[in-house]
Amino acid sequence: MAEPPVVGFLTDATLCIGCKACEVACKQWNQLPGDSAPGVAELTGFSYDNTVDLGATTWRHVAFVERPTPHGIAWLMLSDVCKHCVHAGCLDACPTGAIIRTEFGTVVIQDNVCNGCGYCIPACPFGVPQLEHADGGSHKCTLCYDRLLGGLAPACATACPTGSIRFGEVDELRAAGHERVATLKEQGVAEASFYGGDELGGTGGIAGLNAMFVLNGPPDGFNLPARPRLPRLNIFPASVTTVLAAAGFSIAAAISFRDRG
């Protein structure tokens, strides 16, 4: 059987209307609990965002950015999601093999293997996975692995009414994203940018994102780091100096114990 193509998302902030259908569809399909206790409204005051962040039971999060501009307030929305990095920090860090690269090129946490060590959480440069107190495991977007197996598109992309969330083969999505940015710039959206390539988002050894974005403002405004770095790259320098320090202490110990006076 031929390998299925690598798939991902292209999420376009310029098409998002902030309806949060993606959040709801994700929670329904993946049977995730709501963001606050039943009957308790948690209003943050962060524009229309009462979800705040991605988390163990929130795998799509619609950000609402209100930015003052010379022409008044710019109201930007973007549905954030796991980036399914080409080189993923969480996958590198996972000591149990619970986090795997699937046949679709996506990054999935196998819940029946994860032992809740929590290392993937600070190892993600985008703040995606999180431990769930209720079951002790780490959770994040699976890019609807079960739906992909059945030949269906992920729930969020299916529910999106404006085409802001596109699902497809990453090569096509990347081309479409760059094309969209070019079109937007032609139309005068100077801040339009592609997030998920070599210049933004997919930097520092991450080698690109399989869930990419079209942005119409600076990435940090959506809480996206402009130039993240793959944490694994720190292992080499840290190990070299630690070994050197060990060599230094070996000499110090040998000298100290040689003196028997």
Partner: protein, 328 residues
Amino acid sequence: MTGQQPHGQPASVQDVSQKGYYGVPVIHRPHWKWLVTGYFFLGGISGASAVIAAFGRLCGGSPGASVARVATYVSVVALVPCPPLLILDLGRPGRFLNMLRVFRTSSPMSVGTWGLTAFGLITALSTLLQMADDLAPGAGPLLTRTRRTASSAVALLGAISGFFVAGYTGVLLAATAVPLWSKRPALLGPLFLSSAMTSAAAAITATAILLGPDAEKGTRQLRTLETLATVAEGSLLFGWLMALGPTAKPLSEGRIGMIVRHGIVGAGVALPLIVSAALDHLPRRTRRPATLIASALTLSGGFALRYAVVEGGRLSADDPQATFEMTG
């Protein structure tokens, strides 16, 4: 999103002078707290004690062998609580054996688990050999020679795996997206290693004094090593904080800042060095209590270092500006 409160101030329009999104952290903070702090401290002592035991045995003559004996027991006593601490920290403790499902060089935690397992086996061997020496010293010449060869071989393995256990935790923290831990990856491993050496030397010295005059042989040599390690620890800490620049904020402000200044620098580095320098000028009968106090201070400084680094990392992860400062 559950279990986490928003961090920013409610505002209808964002403060554009600050980067970010309503002050919400960019990355998620690790859940590690007391259990992991305790493991970093005890695992460091255990690993570095094995190193000290090895050098005492291999190049210390009879005073060195006396230090090696105490160090071997300190190493195993410090190691015993480590696995329970690590297992209890897991979200799903019943699945701790899944750590040994795979070996991933991209994960310092995976490599560390295997290294700790190997270290545990080697520590068990060296403890058995030491107990055999202590309980049945008067064996025949052939058996004595066999034991000595075995002890030397196990000591060498103990030094290698001990260095690994004492230092890998710094590499583990450096390989994350937490600004405080990852910004200057080269310095955290050596800092943890030197702190482990000072703590281990202090623990061995204190144990030797408490065991009585027979066990104290070789503690003078150990004091030289402890002084060198303490100077290294102080210098590395200073260098690391300088190199971090504004990212060191969680370690200079508030409660953690106080722990760094008084706990690590004051109790862990400065006071033990002063006591060590003054020791030979003190009246003979006050030297033992003074050394015990200095050891206790060094140990509390070692614990304070692990606590400040772990807790400071959590604060650093919660600060979106620290992340943006590194990621542009």
